[in-house]
Symmetry: C2
Subunit: 431 residues, 2 copies
């Protein structure tokens, strides 16, 4: 390394990318590794799944974001293992030595010990997931239009979403709108407004992280859009095309989506430190790994407490704040060596929000609770402001304006073959 420090960052999500943007230290090289070639604006991923936006609207090549940073090398590669003693990262194509390591690999869907459910109820984590879900739902409507049997048509037009957190609520609202407004006049044999959108939640309320009044408001807003919200409802089993509830009831559905649980990526197990039940790394207050002051874990896979002693939530503002915090610590470490200060991470909660649909949302900022149109306006504003990259911002705005005015969605393109050209499972789920 010709005497230079080398910082390796694993993951180009909000945490890793914010680290790279904030960190700059004379003579230090940075390598950012990501499995994909793009940074994903995950808060809008559900819009790709529901045909509101197209993939380049919410994804940007990481290389392009960092192209003016000569000190940063971007590698598209996959992390296989850590060699903590040798200070090396084992990638599929390379092995990378590091002086400092920032682990920002994020999370994945968790099926509560039922990994076999994933095949029947995919979750929404990547661009490919979103494109697959979009194709799947649109194909089910196409099949329903081709189908004479009434009962089968009803099944094809049923979408079950498991999990009433923000992702589940956003998916349910967006699919209800898709069926009731966008697709309304497109079919001759079926009536898309008769689609069943069912949102299942185990707890007594959806959006459990929100204050009760906002949870209830969100439920009312969803029901007004025709979504069947079923709380205190537990899933016992998921099979191809059907969900079995604990009560024994069976719901048949053309599309089943999983939005019930996330955990840290399984790779955290290889770090050899204590994890919580969701696989998150129990980091020191400065976000470093216990016993490894040269390694930091940030974003969704880090477990750290806020000032009230509650875990910092797995949201993008938290990941970005952590990225900035660690960039400061490593800069100081390189400048002053082991005697550098290592302040603890402090989470600044800017509030939370969830969008439900056209003019429908809930938002909480400190003690202010908003719902309906004002919350939706705030959601719109925040998401447009924080969209990284000018092109995306303009494109997304135009898309939304077009959708809002015209009740149309441009991204309704099925990128798979015709129905039945391959075994159903294989065909429908190819990206």
């Amino acid at each position: 390394m010709d005497g230079k420090f080398h910082v390796v960052v694993l993951g180009g999500g909000f945490g890793g990318l914010t680290f790279c943007k904030s960190f700059q230290s004379e003579g230090t090289r940075v390598t950012l590794v990501d499995r994909t070639n793009h940074h994903l604006f995950q808060p809008l991923l559900y819009q790709v799944a529901t045909a509101g936006l197209s993939t380049p609207d919410i994804a940007q090549p990481i290389r392009s974001i960092l192209s003016d940073r000569e000190d940063i090398t971007v590698l598209m590669d996959e992390v296989l293992d850590f060699d903590l003693a040798g200070r090396k990262i084992v990638l599929r194509e390379n092995t990378l030595p590091y002086d400092y390591l920032v682990v920002a690999l994020g999370g994945c869907n968790s099926y509560f010990g039922h990994p076999e459910w994933e095949a029947f109820a995919p979750g929404l984590k990547t661009i490919n997931d979103a494109v697959r879900i979009r194709s799947r739902v649109l194909l089910e409507f196409e099949k329903a239009e081709n189908c004479a049997a009434r009962e089968e048509t009803a099944k094809l037009m049923t979408i079950v979403i498991i999990g009433g957190g923000p992702t589940g609520v956003e998916l349910a609202g967006a699919f209800a709108e898709l069926a009731r407004t966008v697709l309304q006049n497109d079919f001759r044999h079926i009536d898309p407004t008769k689609a069943h959108i069912i949102l299942l939640e185990g707890a007594p309320h959806i959006l459990g992280n929100f204050p009760l009044d906002l949870s209830q408001s969100a439920q009312r807003q969803l029901e007004r859009m025709g979504v069947h919200v079923r709380t205190s409802t537990f899933v016992k089993d998921i099979r191809e095309g059907e969900v079995e509830l604990k009560s024994g009831e069976i719901i048949r559905a053309g599309t089943i989506l999983w939005a019930a649980g996330v955990s840290a990526v399984p790779l955290t197990k290889k770090l050899g430190v204590e994890l919580d039940k969701a696989g998150r790394v129990k980091v020191n207050p400065d976000l470093s790994l216990p016993g490894h002051p040269e390694i930091f874990a940030i974003g969704d896979l880090a477990l750290v407490m806020d000032e009230e002693g509650k875990p910092v939530p797995g949201v993008s503002p938290a990941a970005m704040q952590m990225g900035r915090h660690v960039a400061g610590i490593i800069t100081e470490g390189i400048r002053f060596g082991p005697k550098a200060a290592r302040p603890p991470f402090k989470y600044f909660d800017k509030g939370t929000m969830a969008t439900i649909g056209r003019s429908a949302a809930v938002a909480q900022v400190k003690r202010i609770h908003l719902s309906g149109y004002p919350a939706w306006l705030m959601w719109l504003f925040v998401h447009i402001v924080f969209l990284i990259g000018f092109r995306n911002r303009v494109a997304v705005l135009l898309n939304w304006a077009y959708a809002y005015i015209g009740y149309k969605r441009g991204a309704r393109i099925i990128t798979t073959g015709a129905p039945g050209t391959a075994p159903a499972q294989q065909n429908n789920w190819q990206p």
Copy 2:
């Protein structure tokens, strides 16, 4: 059919869609069948393959285009066979009886008796093809950045395009621009401007359908952009990652693309009428099938002569004119029965053009020959005016303006996994 006439249209391309839009006859039902759910603006497909545009920019749901036409039913289904005697179409999911049939299924790539080449040198016909080609080329650059061996890097950064017609020329120019301007600063280990773009053509000139001065101009414009144009060069064999020429020379390349030949879809063989070598249906002057006045073939799969006795070319304006012509004949046929007039189809040649890149193109309108900037402006104007659907037009314009001003391309998203996560062939070519 409750006494009503039923017109079945196979294919939602330029021919089929124009037919549907022009045809309207009191009490007649129309069913449009397409394998996909979208109409594709095929002249811009190469822009998706080269990361200039995203899929919804050039694809629009057929249902949405025809949603105000209550008389038209759209089915997403695949044609398997014709029952000409029984006047029925056999689809995968249904069987459709018809009174009039319009066959507008278009063409597919033709490998001159070497179908095995398709696996190594895909062509560009569908949205999925374009997305796969884009992912493939971008992945090869990512692999090159990860690769230490120099010779291997050179191979990964070589793109061979076989066929110097408009599609081949457009692909070569767009890839040259992608490498030389857009990707220029994005890598640290490789220099994308050193990418080899090789265009192979068997004839002595590229763009054989154009006047000689324009062919030569196109070649000069391509060479100025760094494309190696090799005319009078024949391909003997194509294998994984290499092209063998008739001379015995072997060119190794990370990406090999086929733009050398198209033929009508194989289904034309089932129509039981005379075909030409490219599988096109030799139709009557009114575009009907010999012996079947109730069946018409239009677009790329129809062979009909223009007023000079030359075959009408397989371009979108011809397909649209044919769609309009047949709409008129069927309307008359329904109104007046067998004694209705059946005028012959007359092709109005509006000119031809091919774009090469930024401010580079060639165009011919009657006796006017344009090349360079004026031809490019004309190309831009024509393509924007003819893009179906307002949303697309604005989005495409914005994308192009952004690309033109910023030398950026927003659609550079690889929608496959990381390199090497699956067997190369399978991984790289998944959409």
